[in-house]
């Protein structure tokens, strides 16, 4: 199947001989895919669709938006009121960001559950983390563009994080701002970068897919493809399955856009930015809340106290410690292929890890909840415990588990349990059998 196909159309043949784009497309279609992928594997294609939706709506919005501190807010409201279907395009873009993150987070947790990050897919995983970082930067800068109160103060808080860097921090912040506070130059560069980064994401997605197609998809059993009997061609099998997933996903998306478009929004962002008035409670968008909780969880001189006892002279202020931990939370996630040494990929055959997976998922939700609450009272304590567990799980527990856990026996091949119906693998697939 993977040999160069013969095309009937002479023009196609002529082009393909010079630029084998049709051969390339053919290989995408017949690309052998494990036959046992479940619905959690739909979220990769959903993320791809969301990227396209965001780029298309974003380009249209950019045609009407004015990146100027005195006009940005009104230009967004003009889109909402006077541009034909501007409200629809903006609400799709606004809620699309939330849907994109929901999809990507599910995609990441699917990877964690089924061990998709393990050899030989480490680079695939790392590219995914790079995409996540780029998405976070893009979403953050996009949130600044309407120039409401939360836009402005969110930008102020987040850019100020860089001031925690010793010696050069303040200079870096001034450089990021293009001045001595968040102002028009900041808005202009954020707009420029907000337009640029999605195309960078697109390029990294291409690499992500390239790496994926090289070693093929992982699957719920987490075992390698043994032969053609284990696979089906991507088209039509997974294209039709992805279509169904996209349909269901769009129903949810449309319900949000049409009937609760401000569900994820902050009331304060409907007030134009006012540098002289700080809102009482600055919160980031929901998809940043777990990181925000980690950022605020560090007690004064947390690492500092610990380090000074070892090194005697380095004191790390709480803010810097928070920033280090926040970025560290993504770093330890990126390093999972090396922290988790267990040869078994799928949590189905890892009786202990299976439980810790649900605990770390709950932990992330708790962190998000704490991030939405003011940093006082019990929330601080809970956030600290949850942050500590986060790092404990990824840095200490995962290496230990790979040593002490005794995995269940693995099936011999993907098609074996599927064909013989031996219990576990067949059960979730059963409803699909009858056409």
């Amino acid at each position: 199947m993977s040999d160069a196909p013969r095309f009937k159309n002479p023009i196609v043949r002529w082009v393909d001989h010079r630029l084998p784009i049709f051969t390339f497309m053919h290989h995408q279609q017949v690309y052998p895919t494990p036959k046992n992928l479940n619905y959690w594997w739909n979220f990769g294609s959903l993320a791809g669709i969301m990227l396209v939706v965001m780029i298309v709506t974003g380009i249209v919005l950019a045609m009407h938006y004015t990146a100027n501190a005195t006009m940005a807010f009104d230009s967004v409201e003009r889109i909402m009121r006077d541009v034909n279907y501007g409200w629809l395009i903006r609400y799709i873009h606004m809620n699309g960001a939330s849907m994109f993150f929901i999809v990507v987070y599910i995609h990441i947790f699917r990877g964690l559950y089924y061990g998709s990050y393990k050899a030989p897919r480490e680079l695939l995983w790392l590219l995914g983390i790079v995409i996540l970082l780029l998405m976070m930067a893009t979403a953050f800068m996009g949130y600044v563009l309407p120039w409401g109160q939360m836009s402005f103060w969110g930008a102020t808080v987040i850019t100020n994080l860089f001031s925690a860097i010793p010696l050069v921090g303040q200079s870096i912040v001034t450089w990021l701002w293009g001045g001595f506070s968040v102002d028009n130059p900041t808005l202009n560069r954020f707009f420029s970068l907000h337009y640029l980064l999605p195309f960078v994401i697109f390029a990294v997605v291409f690499l992500h897919l390239w790496a994926l197609h090289h070693h093929k998809s992982n699957n719920p059993l987490g075992i390698d493809i043994k032969g053609p009997q284990d696979t089906i061609p991507f088209h039509p099998y997974y294209t039709v399955k992805d279509n169904f997933g996209i349909g269901v996903f769009f129903i949810v998306f449309a319900a949000l856009v049409f009937f609760a478009p401000n569900f994820f929004g902050e009331a304060d962002n409907n007030i134009p930015a006012n540098p002289l008035q700080t809102p009482p409670h600055i919160v980031p968008e929901w998809y940043f809340l777990p990181y925000y909780a980690i950022l605020r969880a560090t007690p004064d001189n947390f690492i500092g106290g610990w380090l000074t006892s070892w090194l005697g002279f380095i004191a790390v202020p709480a803010k810097l410690a928070g920033v280090i931990l926040m970025f560290g939370s993504l770093l330890v996630l990126a390093l999972q292929p090396w922290f988790d040494r267990s040869p078994v990929r799928s949590a189905r055959f890892r009786p202990v890890y299976k439980w810790f997976f649900w605990i770390i998922l709950l932990d992330a939700v708790v962190l998000g909840y704490c991030g939405a609450k003011p940093p006082e009272g019990a929330y601080v304590v809970i956030a600290r415990l949850a942050a500590a567990w986060y790092f404990f799980h990824f840095v200490i527990l995962m290496p230990l588990l790979s040593v002490f856990e005794r995995p269940d026996p693995l099936p011999h091949s993907i098609s074996e349990p599927v064909l013989k119906g031996s219990g576990f693998a067949l059960a979730p697939a059963k409803p699909m059998e009858k056409a």
Binding site: K35, D74, E77, M80, R81, W87, L88, Y91, I232, P236, Y237, V240, K241, N243, F244, I246, G247, V248, F250, I251, A254, A255, V257, F258, F259, P261, N262, A267, D268, N270, I271, H281, G377, V418, L419, A429, M432, E433, K434, A435
Partner: protein, 266 residues
């Protein structure tokens, strides 16, 4: 919601009763008691349901309250008179509303600015030329623009009704600042608001014969401000229902195709 939580936290602090003696603590306690006693009352806003649309009679009444009462101090800078077609005013009615204000235009061919009657394409005429003028006329306070008020506060229209019906005598424990008014719907600044009670029974005379009580006018103007902050809601709901019905049919087709294609796999 925020207010309830704040009230509960303060109530807990009260129970723990760490012998609050300073005047500041007493004020905080007093504010917490007011918050606990006056949770935000939630109304049913019919436009919020899936098939909901704005009731144009209520919109017109609300616009009348805004025009005759609120607009003396509050601007609505994001709206133009032509937008009033959305509350059911005819073209002639809109022209008449617009023409009732004098707008500065120009410069003309002689280089002079001149006054002319407003047109439908003009923005709502602001009561004050700039922020300084607004503050000077209002004891230093700035009446906020109302274009997005129904979306710019937690609670939306409920919050607006809460303020407009929240005036009364301050409890004895609350130390009022000079020139401020007590309002148990205004939690932002310790229930003290610079705006004096704007509505009184019969402040406007409704053309449709509705009794102009304070709660009625508060409801109507909150209704109008909801429209002003979200003028495309009717179209959004209508298109939304069609879109979702279409998507359900499409998804059902996708599912059928999926089952058919996969029937030979296992």
């Amino acid at each position: 919601m925020r207010r309830i939580i704040a009230g509960c936290c303060a109530a807990i602090a009260l129970v723990l009763g760490t012998g609050a003696t300073s005047a500041q603590d007493e004020q905080a306690q007093c504010i917490a008691e007011i918050a606990a006693k006056n949770p935000l009352a939630h109304q049913e806003w019919d436009f919020n349901s899936i098939f909901g649309t704005y009731d144009q009679a209520a919109l017109k009444r609300g616009f009348q309250v805004y025009k005759e009462v609120c607009s003396a101090c509050h601007s609505m800078n994001l709206l133009s008179y032509r937008h009033l077609s959305g509350i059911g005013l005819s073209e002639d009615e809109i022209k008449a509303v617009a023409a009732s204000v004098q707008v500065t235009d120009g410069p003309n061919d002689e280089g002079e600015m001149f006054e002319r009657p407003g047109r439908p394409s003009d923005k709502f005429h602001p009561p004050f030329p700039n922020e300084q003028a607004a503050r000077a006329s209002n004891n230093g306070a700035l009446p906020p623009d109302l274009s997005l008020m129904a979306k710019a506060r937690e609670g939306g229209p409920d919050h607006i009704v809460g303020i407009l019906t929240g005036y009364g005598d301050p409890p004895a424990c609350l130390k009022m600042n000079e020139g401020m008014n007590f309002n148990h719907g205004f939690d932002a600044a310790g229930f003290q608001i610079a705006m004096p009670a704007p509505l009184s029974d019969g402040a406007v005379t409704y053309a449709d014969g509705t009794q102009a009580t304070v709660p009625q006018m508060a409801h109507d103007v909150a209704y109008f401000l909801s429209w002003a902050s979200e003028p495309n809601l009717d179209a959004r709901h209508k298109i939304g229902v069609g879109t979702i019905l279409f998507l359900i049919v499409l998804t059902a087709c996708f599912y059928a195709v999926y089952r058919k294609v996969w029937s030979d796999v296992h």
